[in-house]
């Protein structure tokens, strides 16, 4: 895929992610209201708020921003999603810190993050959790990493696309993990909020997302 947009840097990406999370807080909340306890929007929004405060108080390199985001989510955000996003961000910060801002480092970092999230949370793909967006996104990055022509921008765009596709698949699933599992069949038809958060994360690399609705139904549906 040819990438024609501006190339993202980690600092810009994180700030756009923060802006996207805040812009879509109400929509995320509404989703978690339908299949969970209605706090995902506030949890994520509080998380990026805390992260921005750290990043603004101590601006530095791209990796520093990633590290600030990771630490904020790990140390200041509760709920289920807070520490899980923290694990993903931490693995990415480590990989980019070592390997630089490359597609290979991004693929390694996200792959590591996914593994950590699966270890800690115990969810497998198909359980209707954020893993269902993160797993295909990680897979897409791995494929991109095998192609030396891909830039980080284009690789992250593919990851976002794979993430949204994962989101659409969650809608058809019956949950086995997370709060939606308590709803039995009643959660079927609604995409998983955490998965939406993950797709939003990758999509923010290419630009701020101000509205979720256009992304929530599969193209052509």
């Amino acid at each position: 895929m040819a990438w024609t947009g501006p190339e993202p840097d980690a600092d810009g990406w994180m700030r756009r992610f923060a802006a996207s999370a805040q812009a879509t807080e109400a929509e995320l909340t509404a989703l978690d209201q339908r299949v969970g306890d209605g706090d995902f929007g506030t949890n994520l929004s509080a998380g990026v708020g805390a992260a921005l405060r750290r990043a603004d108080a101590d601006p530095g390199t791209d990796t520093d921003t990633l590290g600030h985001f990771a630490e904020a989510f790990l140390d200041e955000v509760g709920g289920t999603s807070g520490p899980l996003f923290g694990l993903l961000l931490q693995a990415m910060a480590d990989a980019v810190g070592e390997g630089g801002w490359t597609v290979v480092a991004l693929a390694d970092g996200v792959g590591e993050g996914l593994a950590a999230i699966r270890r800690v949370g115990g969810a497998a793909p198909g359980d209707k959790t954020l893993v269902d967006a993160l797993d295909p996104a990680a897979e897409a990055l791995k494929e991109s990493a095998a192609d030396p022509a891909r830039t980080p921008g284009s690789a992250l765009a593919s990851a976002a696309e794979a993430g949204w596709a994962g989101v659409h698949r969650t809608a058809g699933l019956r949950a086995r993990m997370g709060r939606s599992s308590y709803l039995g069949d009643r959660a079927t038809g609604v995409p998983d909020p955490g998965a939406v958060g993950v797709a939003l994360f990758f999509a923010s690399a290419g630009g701020e997302v101000r509205e979720l609705a256009p992304h929530l139904s599969p193209p052509g549906a």
Partner: protein, 332 residues
């Protein structure tokens, strides 16, 4: 406009914690940085500190149970969200005794993760830490729910009994084992005729028709697995109590501690009516309701519903139940 009586700027929980710490300054103090509540004087005979925590919105759980005979420290999160691991870690360090600290954790992924990370950090510091996983909710007892049963109303029963056991000087492993066996003998079931008011939107978290009942709700305001007609009280309680007994399978002549717990907006008139029906049904099944607790103990904001919990209790458990307790929400 905020649906609750509060100040703007996400101050519902922090303002409540400050007011709570001021009202109960004789019992506990609030750590202003990490937002946990530490008892002033639990028994010096304790070798293990008892810590519990979880999302806010379930008050008096857990802060209301901090004090002599019960918890050493409580760690509240944001509304319906687990506290973060750093909070749990700092609170555990503050509450740990010579033999370490016992985490009483309701079984939710977020709590498991955050308490789990905190436990790793404590291990790193050389502070012994064990966990009791509380998973009393019968409605989430299903092979299809890989997350396992939720922790709900029964939590207050376990916290009381474990508090008394800690006062006897039991060590960390013994307390953890006791907690596990108590959890195995405790089941709860909850119903609601109206959802809580969502703090974010001001709307009910879900809508129910007149005469409809969510059967098997949790304490976070998510819907239950099914909606049934509400009907009269007697058949409803027979059904709930019957299912609890079927799951616990008590022998003839068993004794139980009964909790009838309001989820927020149910009146004491209703809760005592429920207790009367539960006790009558237990009588009929040959199980003695040896002790009871009726009131709002583990809530879900202003949800209009209640839960019934049974804890099968031997003589030792009853003795520990009867041991003195002095906390904001439970004292005798």
């Amino acid at each position: 406009m905020a649906p609750y009586f509060e100040n703007n700027g996400d101050r519902l929980v922090p303002d409540a914690l400050q007011g709570f710490a001021r009202a109960h300054g004789d019992l506990l103090s609030l750590d202003p940085e990490h937002g946990f509540l530490l008892a002033r004087d639990t028994s010096p005979a304790r070798r293990v500190g008892l810590l519990s925590g979880g999302g806010a919105g379930h008050e008096p759980l857990h802060a209301g149970f901090v004090g002599p005979g019960m918890l050493d420290v409580a760690v509240p999160g944001r509304v319906f969200a687990s506290p973060h691991n750093r909070q749990v870690y700092a609170a555990s360090r503050a509450g740990a005794r010579a033999d370490g600290v016992l985490h009483l954790v309701k079984n939710y992924t977020g709590d498991r993760i955050n308490f789990g990370i905190a436990a790793e950090r404590l291990a790193h510091d050389g502070i012994a830490c064990a966990r009791v996983l509380i998973d009393d909710d019968l409605a989430s007892d299903s092979e299809e729910i890989a997350a396992g049963r939720r922790g709900t109303g029964g939590t207050v029963l376990l916290e009381k009994v474990l508090g008394a056991a800690a006062d006897e000087g039991l060590g960390l492993d013994a307390l953890a084992a006791l907690g596990g066996s108590l959890a195995a003998r405790c089941r709860s079931l909850a119903v609601a005729s109206a959802a809580h008011t969502a703090p974010t939107t001001g709307e009910r978290a879900f809508e129910l028709g007149d005469g409809e009942l969510e059967y098997g709700v949790g304490i976070h305001g998510e819907r239950a697995g099914r909606t049934v007609p509400r009907g009269e009280l007697t058949p409803l309680i027979e059904r709930m109590t019957g299912e609890l007994l079927a799951a616990l399978d008590p022998g003839a002549g068993s004794e139980a501690i009964v909790l009838v717990n309001g989820l927020g907006s149910v009146t004491p008139l209703e809760l005592y009516g429920v207790y009367g029906e539960v006790a009558r049904h237990l009588d009929a099944q040959g199980v003695r309701p040896a002790r009871s607790l009726v009131g709002n103990y583990v809530t879900a904001l202003d949800m209009r519903g209640f839960s019934v919990s049974l804890l099968l209790a031997d003589e030792e458990t009853l003795r520990r139940w009867d041991a003195p307790v002095r906390t904001a929400a439970l004292r005798w």
